[in-house]
Amino acid sequence: MDFNIFLQLVINGLLVGGVYGLMSLGINLVWGVMGVINLAHGDLIMAAGFLVFSLFSRWHMNPMLLLPVGMAMTFLVGMLSQRFLLGRLPQDRGAIKTSLLMTFGISYVVINTAQLLWGNEFQTVTFFSGSWSLGELEFAKARTVAFLAASAITAALWLFLHGTRYGRAIRAVSQNRDGAAVCGVDQGRVQVASFGLGAGLAGAAGVLLVMIFAISPAMGSGYTIRSFAVTVIGGLGSFPGALLGAMILGLAEVFTGYMVSAQIANGVAFILFLVVLLLFPQGLSGVFRR
């Protein structure tokens, strides 16, 4: 393989990986802190994307300026879901099952609402066209901007979790729920905030995605599964793991698409997912932890 081609594929893979990372962090937060598997994750991604699309159609402003709006909407939806729906479920042995199914119900509601508000068709935001060239290499503008934004948000999240009291409270609950309670951390509040934050991250991913690809209301579940695949590959509960998993998946998809076929590339996420699940239950980050 020509070295330039190799580099180009690496660039494409990493750029897409940036957005995947954002998707995975949202899942990680919710699953790690609360043990909840949020099946509505992909639909929140999609909803934020559509919201920004409709605003963009009206005002034609830089979609990056609309990013906070998308995030705020999903943040709100997440918090409300936790406060009034998920938080009401009995926290017994079957909690994982019921909360998972409830997020499924929520996802249906989100999809239908999006369909009613914004229609059924594929939409995209064409603001950044073309690419920046560096010699023979092309950096697609939309993807590069998305990658930078995703990195910025990831960094901000890390600072929040490690630098602020609230962030530390969230981490405490994910490490040891009862221990955190003993230290005076309000469980309910933390859960609401975490779910909201996880949803907000999904929203950010959605805004970035709609700038790069075309999305439709029906595509949400595909993103959900993909987000979980990334999380498992990287390792649940691990921040760097989520990013690692995302980059690996991005690269795997691009290289498979180039060397084998588009059909296999579409499914490589799940092959990796199963392989990691069965061989490295802690994810790839777990391998390094040892």
Partner: protein
């Protein structure tokens, strides 16, 4: 904000139809169909639905079919063949429609054609370009759309006229796009073209960067995307992002949709197959376009015209036989040789469409212009496409 006119539109149409049927006496004739209101084909299929609806309106204003009001019954097949099959079963056995017409896309039509054949209901498929569907020995199915093989002839002709030699083809892995690919592959040599790349991608794929990196290496003169709207848009957009500089870009279906223009300046110079254009001098076309614009507030595209034409054919067949007898209607359609807004309708013994022809449009300055063949064109094709670096 996209015009959210679907709700009031549906209500409005329903009211109109009921009003229209109140004018004509007798119990209504029910025509059943499924429409891809959601999913990959939604953008294109809605034009098709409007074509059906306009015809039903007009026929009711004229006094209905054989003196009876006509009502269109449709459901959302979600661009999914499985759903389409279930819906047609429902239409035929539960709703007990008198007549049926085809859904959107070769894939869905193919699956549904079996249902029609099983229940011995005549069905014209206006959105099925894959001729293979009509080569299965079915007696009740007729093709109401130009054959896939003719879609890209215009692009190939222009390529030949400009001396282009190499071509890369991408296709969605479903019936129609693959049919176009295989037909093009058969005749490429006649047009002096060598196919250097020919791959498919799964339905629903959105990232084509890996495929296009391969295409870029081969540096083809022509890039042919046998794609619908979302994938067609994605491919062209990513051609720009990956630096694929071809001299001619053509998209089978996607580029004919007005929504393709959402790409902005990136859409320019792209060719699209169209079987029909608003200014074509086919019978009743001008009136059709005007009425459509008045009713829906936008111009029809070729799907609208094809669907409208298929109901024109159905009306002619029913009127000729004077009944809703499916066998008689099928016999009538197979012998029909008539002019419609879409062109000249004629099917061969198998049901394959041999009358309709194909033309080519190009996006120029944010507008679609028909540029081929010479007989119907509105403007001249602009070739070669300037490299992306020199464009806005």
């Amino acid at each position: 904000m996209m015009k959210r006119i679907r709700y009031p539109l549906f209500l409005g149409v329903a009211l109109l139809v009921f009003a229209g049927s109140a004018l004509a006496a007798g119990s209504p004739i029910l025509i059943g169909t499924s429409v891809s209101l959601s999913g990959n084909y939604a953008a294109s299929a809605k034009y098709g639905l409007e074509g059906y609806q306009l015809f039903v309106d007009q026929i009711n204003q004229r006094g209905g079919l054989m003196g009876r009001p006509v009502r269109l019954i449709y459901y959302d097949d979600r661009s999914d063949a499985n759903t389409g099959v279930q819906l047609y079963e429902k239409l035929i056995t539960a709703d007990k429609v008198d007549l049926i017409v085809g859904p959107y896309s070769s894939g869905v039509t193919s699956a549904v054609s079996t249902v029609a054949e099983k229940h011995k209901m005549t069905m014209i498929g206006p959105e099925a370009a894959d001729a293979k569907i009509y080569m299965r020995g079915y007696k009740y199915n007729f093709q109401g759309q130009t054959q896939a093989g003719r879609y890209m002839i215009g692009a190939l002709s222009l390529a030949k006229a400009n001396g282009y030699k190499t071509m890369a083809m991408l296709a969605e892995d479903t019936a129609f796009p693959k049919a176009v690919s295989s037909e093009v592959a058969k005749v490429a040599k006649e047009y002096g073209l060598t196919i250097v790349f020919n791959q498919t991608y799964p339905k629903g794929a959105s990232d084509f960067s890996a495929l296009l990196t391969k295409v870029k290496q081969l540096n083809p003169d022509v890039v042919l995307a046998n794609s619908y709207l979302p994938d067609g848009q994605g491919i062209i957009r990513q051609c720009r992002e990956q630096g694929v500089d071809a001299k001619l870009y053509a998209v089978a279906v996607g580029a004919a949709e007005p929504e393709f223009g959402n790409l902005g300046a990136t859409a320019n110079y792209v060719f699209g197959a169209t079987q029909w254009a608003a200014n074509m001098k086919t019978k009743g076309n001008a009136a059709f376009v005007k009425a459509y614009k008045e009713k829906f507030g936008r111009n029809p595209d070729y799907h609208s015209a094809a669907n409208f034409a298929s109901l024109q054919v159905l009306e002619a067949a029913v009127t000729e036989t004077g009944s809703i007898d499916q066998d008689k209607i099928a016999a009538a359609i197979s012998k029909l040789d008539m002019d419609t807004v879409y062109g000249h309708f004629k099917v061969d013994a198998r049901g394959v469409q041999v009358g309709y022809a194909s033309s080519l449009l190009q996006w120029q300055g944010g507008r679609q212009l028909v540029v081929w063949p010479d007989a119907v064109r509105e403007g001249k094709p602009i070739l070669p496409t300037p490299p992306w670096s020199e464009r806005k």
